[in-house]
Symmetry: C2
Subunit: 103 residues, 2 copies
């Protein structure tokens, strides 16, 4: 699969695993307006480095007041067990994420 | 640094380290026509997952006859110690790579 190939809009996010190795997983995620469920926080044993390549999103850490706005080229590293959620993704265009999960 | 920010053309490739963790390193590499030195092969102890996001390149494995042409969205995984080299990158435009080195 070419990384830049885009699926049709769907009700759910689309997740494609690009690499899986011991202690490492690389995924491409495409959102079309999806957000984390109300009140839900990701709390992952793995670290996650995430890069937005297209679209727009707001990611919130539980330990911060304001959500972080992410657009093309923005990336951040999420430490293991740092609770976070996706407050918003642009419903008008696909938001393309590259996520590297590591231990 | 925004991932999509581009440096001016330079004599050497530009490498920016985006993440460094135990057994994991993520780099952004920008080539402007640079290639591996004649006769040189990379022979790395680490695995390398690499994604081309812009530009064009030809990557050759020693164990294959033909170079692989890579363009935007193409990615591949290079096993540890699989000898390879960059035969060509487009001299006219920047070639932007995301490289994930892992153990």
């Amino acid at each position: 699969m070419n990384f830049l190939w885009l699926p049709h809009r769907a009700a759910a996010e689309r997740v494609d695993e690009l690499l899986s190795r011991s202690g490492l997983r690389i995924e491409r995620i495409v959102s079309w307006g999806q957000v984390s469920p109300a009140g839900f926080w990701y709390d992952q044993a793995e670290g996650e480095w995430v890069l937005v390549l297209a679209g727009a999103a707001r990611l919130r850490f539980e330990d911060e007041t304001d959500a972080r706005s992410l657009g093309p080229g923005d990336w951040l590293d999420i430490a293991p067990h740092r609770r976070h959620r996706v407050d918003w993704t642009d419903p008008a265009v696909p938001t393309v994420w590259l996520a590297v999960y590591y231990r």
